[in-house]
Assembly symmetry: C2
Homo-oligomer: 197 residues x 2
């Protein structure tokens, strides 16, 4: 049994965290990306299926490969971000299950069941993408998640010949709160989105 | 710019957190569920679309309505959990966009575009489901997420006549580490799941 985190930590993770559109000129190191992955990988997925794959775009060359597929309003801020994570999904995730879930023949639950593969892959890759956002914030980094891009084009550039497809993108770095930060948008009230039965 | 959270907090959120299968006999109050929602709702979604809907199953009557749709291995632990959250998705989420995203006519981006509605709803409902798990842990609660249940049956019981469909379930409470806690399963190494370009 754990105590709640401090209010400052809850603010950092949820209440004061923002989607940033501009970035300070400050590197995110490869070591930080390793620490980030080591947190993200621990988040729960169905049968430990862990279908998310990540491509961290950092170099000039990699940014040039990414740029043509970004929507107009996402291009400039993404080129300026220290790192852009392509959050992707491996639709052949079940081939790892003999190692990741040794309790049962979990691979056989999926093999040939295309609707279950699709639903499990999309749901759990998205869960892991959210763990990525929360883990980055927990490490003192800021995020700018986006789904506005040419998915087919990006997938052909980065994932040709594989069963991996992109899910969404997340700019990662140290946000600049003085540039292009939108006003906080309203949220649905408890009674609009939730009920207790 | 924020500092990283303490190691103890990172452990609580990611490294030491576990999927629990047994629960201490300790209530989760309605006030705690309100605090939980107030964190979860702040997590980012595409165009602030916020498609997740939550039904917190707490009462004996509600548990009896849920039970027939649980898979055999999920039934007993779920009946013993203080709360089970049905994480659901409102596929008519775009009707709230004039209020949630007033910058643009975002409702018109979705109206009649069924593939975009489906992808946005599933991706963002799943992101919000992960925020729920992380927020519960941040508040000192434990989780047991599950996707093994009769979705069509549960949806007919709880969401008939609406555009809401369930996504997955999360038992919430204070875990009992001495009962039915599985050994920690392996995770994919950085190089198996990620690359830096």
């Amino acid at each position: 049994m754990s105590a709640p985190l401090s209010d400052a930590s809850l603010d950092q993770l949820f209440r004061h965290a923002r989607t940033f559109n501009a970035w300070q000129d400050k590197e995110v190191t490869d070591e930080q990306l390793g620490e980030l992955y080591d947190l993200v990988k621990m988040g729960p997925t169905s049968a430990n299926s862990s279908p998310m794959r990540l491509v961290f775009i950092k170099s000039k060359d990699a940014k040039a490969r990414l740029k043509p597929f970004l929507s107009e309003n996402n291009a400039e801020k993404t080129m300026a971000a220290p790192v852009t994570a392509i959050v992707a999904t491996d639709f052949a995730f079940y081939d790892h299950l003999p190692r990741l879930f040794p309790h049962a023949d979990a691979r056989s639950w999926f093999l040939g069941n295309e609707p279950l593969i699709q639903a499990t892959a999309m749901r759990n890759s998205s869960l892991q993408g959210a763990y990525l956002i929360m883990a980055a914030r927990a490490l003192g980094l800021d995020c700018g998640p986006m789904s506005g891009y040419d998915q087919a084009g990006l997938d052909a550039e980065f994932f040709a010949g594989s069963q991996v497809k992109s899910n969404f993108l997340v700019n990662i770095g140290y946000g600049d709160p003085d540039k292009n930060l939108f006003g906080r948008l309203p949220r649905l009230a408890f009674d609009e989105a939730a009920q207790i039965l």
